[in-house]
């Protein structure tokens, strides 16, 4: 048996976003050893990366540092996660916006981020 979290991070480092699915169809994130609530076996699958902004907040910093956003993203497959949407401003980022995942490798550790996308 290998660590689900380690498997997820290894995939992210390759640019892939993995999710898990329970026998009843529920999609699970963060990765777990077993399905929450039932303890059943989970199966990995690769997510499309497409999602919708569920809610968001802009965190203000002391100028000249720019504010940054924190968003909860609903992935099309059913999981919800926290992330940041790049390439947007307080005027353009909105609840309901369609977004697409990408993996940023710039900061050392691979980081899952999102950007606006036209469906």
């Amino acid at each position: 048996m290998s660590s689900p979290e380690a498997q997820w991070r290894a995939a992210l480092a390759e640019g892939r976003l993995l999710l898990q699915r329970a026998p009843d169809g529920r999609v699970v994130f963060p990765p777990r050893l077993a399905a929450p609530g039932t303890g059943e076996v989970l199966e990995w699958f690769e997510a499309s990366g497409r999602g919708t902004v569920y809610t968001l907040s802009w965190v203000n910093r002391k100028p000249p540092a720019e504010p940054y956003n924190v968003a909860l993203i609903d992935l099309d497959e059913g999981a919800r996660l926290m992330s940041r949407v790049e390439g947007v401003t307080p005027a353009t980022l909105a609840i309901g916006m369609r977004v697409d995942a990408f993996v940023d490798q710039a900061e050392g550790a691979p980081l899952l981020l999102f950007q606006p996308v036209e469906d």
Binding site: T55, S57, V59, Y68, V70
Partner: protein, 383 residues
């Protein structure tokens, strides 16, 4: 089965607060110990009669052990749970069951912090989990901001509604000598306040103060022979639905909808029976969410409910009559202060005393809207 509770079988026999506001030079332990000693004395009991300790300090992982040592207690049972600011309502549930079962005879529930004098920062070692932390949400503030933004989006709640919560809290605080934040506060002050994590401004945030609180619980039969008017515990329930806000199925619905319903069922009351509610207001959205989830108004109507003046002095449901965490005190965790204000209202000892308080509710919140616990207290007339 489940939810069997000794309705009215136990009581808050003693209570005290100490050092609310600023107490430079005092340690958290000292503030808490003084509150505990005052609460024991308030009950007309003595320290050796305490045989169970319930505590959850923000800065001491082993506070159950260190506090027992400090006071010289050797409890039959020590509880140091970690459910955040709702811990103290959970303590009441456990203490009531253990008292009723005869496992313990006298429970001390205590809390205190010097967080304002000791640097003015939230004295917590808690932070976001490894999935959220890379995105740098302010902990815990941004989680509440995410809930607020969604509530505004779904239900049309406005910043004016949020401000109504802060203005109500200040109005109550202005006539409470114990409250830390007093003085004029206007809608314009709230709307023009510095934005921290949208849509939460500094005026939507609770205070950072020092302060300590303690209560002493016994069986009601014993409390009747003690010093003060009996404040009985009619119901107490806790519910935990998530830790990270990212795991909330719906960030506008909290586990207060479960804990409140269960506590009220134990107590045999419905929301309209409750004369006053003390709700853990870490942020203005808390009051709105809990009013809805506890059944005082329909889901989504909390903003309009508070803007109607319902929770302010003169309103139909007085809420946070001490000024709450927003304007009375918030020493890191507020839960026990909400309990004490509810108990004072039943005793007839509150600074902003209401008439005819037979049933009062205290609701605690822990983590990032994660853990919710509700206590229903009653006067002797409810037994």
């Amino acid at each position: 089965m489940g939810d069997t509770f000794p309705r009215g079988g136990t009581a808050i026999a003693g209570l005290a607060t100490f050092g609310i506001g600023e107490m430079p030079g005092f340690t958290s332990m000292e503030l808490t110990a003084q509150a505990a000693l005052l609460a024991v004395r308030d009950a007309g009991l003595t320290l050796p009669e305490v045989d169970a300790l319930f505590i959850c300090q923000p800065d001491d992982f082993f506070s159950g052990l260190s506090f027992a040592e400090y006071l010289g207690l050797q409890p039959r049972y020590t509880d140091n749970n970690r459910t955040g600011g709702s811990a103290f309502m959970s303590h009441i549930a456990v203490a009531a069951m253990m008292l009723d079962a005869g496992y313990i005879d006298c429970a001390l529930i205590a809390y205190g912090s010097n967080q304002r004098s000791n640097g003015g920062k939230l004295a917590t070692r808690i932070s976001s989990n490894q999935w959220d932390a890379p995105y740098a949400p302010l902990f815990p503030l941004t989680s509440y901001a995410l809930a607020t933004a969604r509530h505004m989006h779904e239900f049309g709640t406005t910043r004016e509604d949020l401000a109504a919560v802060a203005l109500s809290a200040r109005a109550w605080a202005n006539t409470n000598p114990e409250a830390f934040a007093k003085g004029p506060l206007t809608l314009e002050d709230c709307l023009s306040a510095r934005m921290v994590s949208t849509p939460i401004s500094v005026r939507d945030c609770c205070l950072v103060t020092d302060g300590a609180a303690a209560i002493v619980m016994t069986r009601t039969t014993r409390a009747r022979d003690l010093a003060k008017r009996v404040v009985s515990v009619l119901g107490a329930a806790a519910a935990t639905w998530w830790n990270s806000i990212a795991q909330a199925p719906d960030v506008t619905v909290t586990a207060a909808s479960e804990s409140g319903a269960r506590a009220m069922a134990m107590a045999g009351v419905v929301p309209k029976d409750i004369r006053t509610a003390q709700l853990y207001d870490a942020f203005t959205i808390n009051t709105i969410l809990f009013l809805e989830d506890l059944g005082f108004c329909p889901k989504g109507e909390g903003g309009r409910f508070v803007s109607s003046g319902a929770i302010a002095p003169g309103g139909s449901l007085p809420v946070n009559t001490n000024g709450g965490g927003l304007s009375c005190c918030h020493p890191g965790m507020y839960g026990l202060f909400a309990v004490i204000e509810a108990a004072r209202q039943i005793r007839g000892e509150a600074a902003n005393q209401l008439a005819d308080v037979d049933v009062a509710l205290a609701h605690g919140n822990g983590g990032t809207l994660s853990s919710q616990a509700t206590v229903v207290l009653g006067s002797p007339a409810t037994l």
